[in-house]
Structure formats: structure tokens, C-alpha cells
């Protein structure tokens, strides 16, 4: 039944998730190795034993990169989860609670969008005294606007749809009709929106950590690693910046592609515009 493209998307989606899960797990296991210093092996260029080389304190960069990525992914999962739930609440509220609520929420969205994202993250991090809580709250509280708009639009459209209207006329309660006829349409939108939020969350977490507002310099976070690497660029330790960065890009890219693959699976009509349009 499934066509080739759908099968490809499904395989890709599963493979991407598996890879990311492995990175996350490996990072947790590597945590000890990431912090281990050994001055007998400092400043080694990438070799067979140390794939990503070692830094000036003799720490294995491969372990550090994995630990950092794992940390970023875990923070990304939590914050994007919170942000997506906020988006769901606000999006539904904007659509069903009347004009006033809609206006207030859209005003709030415009305000948040008006402050450059990183600046807002700096402000929130500052408000919470910097550190882990600052970066987690910052990322969680600033990513909801776009998904809120999507969900608001979807709910408004569903509210005017015939099947919803008819079910209401047939005497179904508001909640019953919403659960039966709205939820099945919202779940895919929400899931795709959630997954597509991860890459942004990860990028922003690493950026804010890179600037020194996020995780403390003792943590093996990807932003910390890249921020440290900046000092050694001039002395020629290029591997400190190159490999962790590539891994970060791959992670972000995989989340983005996985989200899009899932969208292709859940909203096949939109994906086949070429065939029908």
C-alpha cells in the first residue's frame, strides 16, 4: 500500500531517531571520560586513538563532544516540550476564547518576536542569575510563538469545518466534539511542530552557552567546548573547533530532516502537491 517515498521517509525518520538516541545515551556514558584530564596526552591532533584529538588539558575531545551533544539534546527535548505545550495552550486559547484573548495573545507574540531572540535569551538568563536554570527557562519560554500561530490557525479552520459544525448541531458537547473531531487533526501538527522545534532549541542553547550566559564552563557543553576552542585557534589547534561543530550541525540537521520526514508521513496530501496540483 505504501508508496516508495513514504517508506523512505519512515526509514529515514527511524534511523535519524535511532542515531540521535545513541548519541544521547553515549554522551551520558561518556561523562566521566569527558572530564578526565591526562597531561601526558595533551594537544594531540586527531589520530586513531583519539578521533577528535585532545585539548590542552589532555581531555579526549570525542568524549567531550558526545557528552556536550547529549546534554544539548536533553536540554533541547525538555525545553522544546515545555515550549510546545505552551504553544498548544495559547494557540487553542487564542482560537476559542474570543476576540479579546486572541488580541492579547497575538500582541504577546509580536512583542516576543520584536526582541532579537538571542537578546531575549540574554535577558532571561540575566533575570534568573545565569547558569543552567537561566538557559533552560530562556529556551523554553521563547520558542512558542510560531507554533502558537500554526495551532491557532488550525483550530480556527477546524471550528469552521463542516464536520465539526454538524457534530455540534447533532448535540455533541463542546468537549466531546473537540476531542473527537479536532484532536486527531491537532496531534500531527503538534508532533511535527515539536520535533521541528528541537533544532532551534539546540542551536539557541549552544549559542547562549557560547556567549557565556548558559551552562557553566565546567560542564562539557557544546557551547563551552566551542567557546574554549576560540582561544586555541591562533595556535593552530583547529580540531578543537572543527569536529564538535560538525557534530552539532549533523545533530541539528538530522532533527530538522526527521521532523520534515514525519510531516511528509502525517500530511501526505500536502506533500503530494506535485501529483495533484
Amino acid at each position: 500500500m505504501k508508496n516508495n517515498k513514504q517508506r523512505q521517509a519512515a526509514v529515514f525518520f527511524s534511523a535519524a531517531l535511532l542515531f540521535l538516541a545513541m548519541v544521547t545515551a553515549a554522551g551520558v556514558l561518556c561523562r566521566e571520560a569527558a572530564l578526565e584530564t591526562d597531561f601526558s596526552r595533551k594537544n594531540l591532533a586527531p589520530c586513531r586513538e583519539y578521533w577528535f584529538g585532545t585539548d590542552c588539558m589532555g581531555r579526549d575531545m570525542f568524549a567531550r563532544t558526545l557528552a556536550g551533544l547529549s546534554m544539548s539534546i536533553r536540554i533541547g527535548l525538555c525545553t522544546a516540550g515545555v515550549s510546545a505545550c505552551l504553544a498548544l495552550l495559547l494557540g487553542v486559547a487564542a482560537a476559542v476564547m474570543g476576540k479579546a484573548a486572541d488580541r492579547v495573545i497575538s500582541f504577546l507574540i509580536d512583542t516576543i518576536m520584536g526582541i532579537p531572540h538571542l537578546l531575549l535569551l540574554i535577558l532571561i538568563s540575566y533575570a534568573l542569575g545565569k547558569g543552567f536554570l537561566g538557559v533552560a527557562a530562556g529556551v523554553a519560554l521563547t520558542h512558542w510563538p510560531s507554533l502558537t500561530r500554526v495551532i491557532r490557525g488550525e483550530v480556527l479552520q477546524l471550528k469552521n469545518s463542516e464536520f465539526y459544525q454538524i457534530s455540534r448541531k447533532l448535540g455533541w458537547g463542546r468537549g466531546q466534539a473537540a476531542a473527537r473531531h479536532m484532536l486527531p487533526h491537532l496531534v500531527p501538527q503538534f508532533t511535527v511542530g515539536l520535533i521541528l522545534m528541537f533544532p532551534h532549541a539546540i542551536l539557541h542553547e549552544s549559542s547562549i552557552t557560547f556567549l557565556g550566559f548558559g551552562l557553566s564552563a565546567k560542564q562539557p557543553a557544546i557551547g563551552v567546548i566551542l567557546s574554549e576552542s576560540m582561544r586555541y585557534l591562533i595556535t593552530g589547534q583547529w580540531w578543537l573547533a572543527l569536529f564538535p561543530g560538525i557534530m552539532l550541525v549533523i545533530t541539528v540537521l538530522l532533527f530538522d530532516r526527521a521532523g520534515n520526514a514525519l510531516r511528509g508521513l502525517l500530511e501526505p496530501m500536502e506533500n503530494r502537491e506535485g501529483v495533484y496540483g
Binding site: I115, L118, L123, Y126, L203, F210, A241
Partner: protein
């Protein structure tokens, strides 16, 4: 444009301006709230850093200015009143009026932002059209791949890579600062300025292209699949004629709007990029203000960038109103009623 249409445009602009002012007030409230909630005491943090060089009199004046013992609402009203008079306070780190610091940093940043904004906009539209014309072929795949890759690349890492390749390995560009070290401002030539801004501008341009390019591609594909393009092809117009006569008109307006709306992203990118290249612009000042607890400067920078972002959105709205013929026709329809 008829008089009624002009009138309508003015009313439209006024409405947008009022909304913009309201949004700015909201931004100031949120910023002030966040900064007030901070457990970090700016006076303590700065007196700790510069204890020797700050007199008691200065400290008292700062304490009085920020109303350390006053409730936040009163402090906000004091601050807002001063801002309306054009006084944003004195930067704790730079020891100069915030307005002065910001205008100098903003000038440095604008140079960078405007260049990369223009380059990414023009290249974005160009690549988007190219990808649409060669849809599914190699050029399209390369452009889409590029957009995808740059959208997933953090600006600060790209900046690090460019720094590594061009400054450290090839030694083509200086490693930091907007002017050569130890040179007086008057001696700095335009060529120096350009040389030091080149890599930061390149970084911002590379990352800025992807959104505009993908958006333009979609619009152009819609346009190329339309009936009027089919008819134009039947009339024997060449590919290039079709793009120039039918495509550009449909594609440019949304691209310009998107480009105005992306100002916020470019400013956000400039924060990290300026940090990597130690380019003394507004973004670097924001980071310095945040780490050094320079509250007046942080407030000032947030307000100014929000003003620039809302200004960009406002410009996009007005431009849409002026250029889109539907808007004009809408005006005439009102006139007829």
C-alpha cells in the same frame, strides 16, 4: 493613486504606528520586569569590579538614579520618563551616557548589518529564482542543500571556521576589531573598515540567504505553474522573458517583506558573530552589558534593537500598502461605496 487611496494609506500607517508604540511599551515592560527580577545586584556587581575607581558620591548617585529602595513600578516610571526626555542613563561599564555608547556601537553594527542584509537579500532572491527555474535539477538540489545546511549551522561556528581559514591559515584578514589596533580614528580609511568588516559580514550573509532563497523558490514555482505563465509560454516568450515580465513582480514583494521581517534574525546573528570577531558593535556591547551587569546599557540596547526591528516591520507593512495594487484597489472600492 487617488486622494482616497492616499488617505487610506495614511490611516493604515497611523494604525500601524500606534501598534508599534504599544509594542515598544510592552517590550520595555518585559525587559524591565526581567532585569528587576534578577538576583544580580548591578551596583554590587559593578562596585565589586571597579571598587577603587568609583567614588562614594558616584555610587550614591547611581543608587539614587536606579532608586534602589524604591518599588519597581516607581522605578519603571522614572526610567520611562527619562527615556522620553532622551536620557537613557549612564552606562556603568563605559562611564558614558547610554545614548552616546549606543549611537557609536550602532554605527559600527549598521555598517555590518546593512551590507549583509543587502547581500543576503539580493543573493537569496537570485538563488531562489534559479532554483525554481531548474526545479529538480542539479542547480536546484545544490541551492536547496545549501539552504538546508546553513539553516542548521550555528552562526558562531561558521564564524569560527571562517576565522580559522581566512585569518589564521591564509592570513588574508585581521583577527578582530573594526579598526587596526593603535590607530587613531581619523587615520582609519574606508578600506581598513571594509577589511575588518568583511568576514563578519560574510558570515551573516551566508546564514541569512537560506530563508529568502527557499521562500522565493516556492513563490516562483507557484508562479511558473500558473495559467498566465503557461499562456506566455504558448505565446513564445522565452524563459528569461517570463521571469522578467511575470516572475519578478510576483516574487519581489514577498521577498522584500520577508527580508524586512528578518532584521531581527540578522541582529540576533550579529550578537554572536561580533563576539567571535571581537567587532565592537551593538551585539558585543549587549553581551558585555549582560556579563558585566550594566543594567542601563542592557535596557537601552534592548529598546533600540526592538525599535529597529519594529521599524523594519513597519517599513514592510507600508511598502506592501504602497506597492500591492490590491491595496490600492481596496482604497478605490471604499471610495465607491
Amino acid at each position: 493613486m487617488t486622494l482616497a487611496a492616499v488617505n487610506r494609506l495614511i490611516i493604515y500607517a497611523a494604525k500601524k504606528a500606534v501598534r508599534m508604540a504599544a509594542l515598544l511599551v510592552m517590550v520595555s515592560l518585559i525587559t524591565f520586569g526581567l532585569i528587576s527580577a534578577s538576583p544580580i545586584d548591578p551596583l554590587q556587581a559593578n562596585a565589586g569590579q571597579a571598587a577603587g575607581s568609583m567614588s562614594q558620591e558616584q555610587l550614591d548617585r547611581l543608587a539614587e538614579y536606579w532608586g534602589v529602595d524604591e518599588p519597581p513600578v516607581k522605578r519603571y516610571i522614572n526610567w520611562a520618563g527619562d527615556v522620553l526626555k532622551g536620557d537613557m542613563g549612564t552606562s556603568l561599564l563605559y562611564r558614558r551616557p547610554v545614548t552616546e555608547v549606543i549611537s557609536q556601537k550602532l554605527f559600527n553594527s549598521l555598517f555590518l548589518l546593512v551590507i549583509s542584509w543587502l547581500v543576503s537579500g539580493v543573493l537569496g532572491v537570485f538563488l531562489g529564482i534559479l532554483a525554481a527555474l531548474y526545479r529538480g535539477r542539479l542547480a536546484d538540489r545544490l541551492i536547496r542543500g545549501y539552504a538546508l545546511l546553513t539553516a542548521s549551522t550555528p552562526a558562531f561556528w561558521l564564524a569560527l571556521l571562517l576565522l580559522l581559514v581566512f585569518s589564521v591559515w591564509l592570513k588574508l584578514f585581521p583577527i578582530g576589531l573594526s579598526v587596526p589596533i593603535g590607530m587613531e580614528a581619523a587615520q582609519v580609511t574606508a578600506a581598513d573598515r571594509l577589511r575588518h568588516a568583511f568576514l563578519p559580514a560574510l558570515t551573516l550573509s551566508i546564514t541569512g540567504i537560506s530563508g529568502t532563497a527557499l521562500h522565493t523558490r516556492e513563490k516562483m514555482i507557484d508562479c511558473l505553474e500558473s495559467d498566465y505563465v503557461l499562456f506566455a509560454r504558448a505565446r513564445g516568450e522565452s524563459r528569461w522573458e517570463i521571469v522578467r515580465r511575470h516572475g519578478l513582480r510576483n516574487v519581489l514583494l514577498p521577498a522584500i517583506t520577508l527580508q524586512f521581517a528578518s532584521i531581527s534574525e540578522i541582529i540576533g546573528g550579529s550578537v554572536v558573530v561580533e563576539q567571535v570577531f571581537s567587532y565592537p558593535g551593538l551585539g558585543q556591547a549587549a553581551v558585555t552589558a549582560g556579563t558585566g551587569s550594566d543594567v542601563p546599557l542592557l535596557m537601552g540596547i534592548t529598546m533600540i534593537t526592538a525599535l529597529v526591528v519594529f521599524g523594519g516591520n513597519f517599513a514592510a507593512d507600508i511598502l506592501y500598502g504602497i506597492i500591492d495594487p490590491r491595496m490600492r484597489r481596496g482604497g478605490e472600492a471604499v471610495e465607491e461605496q
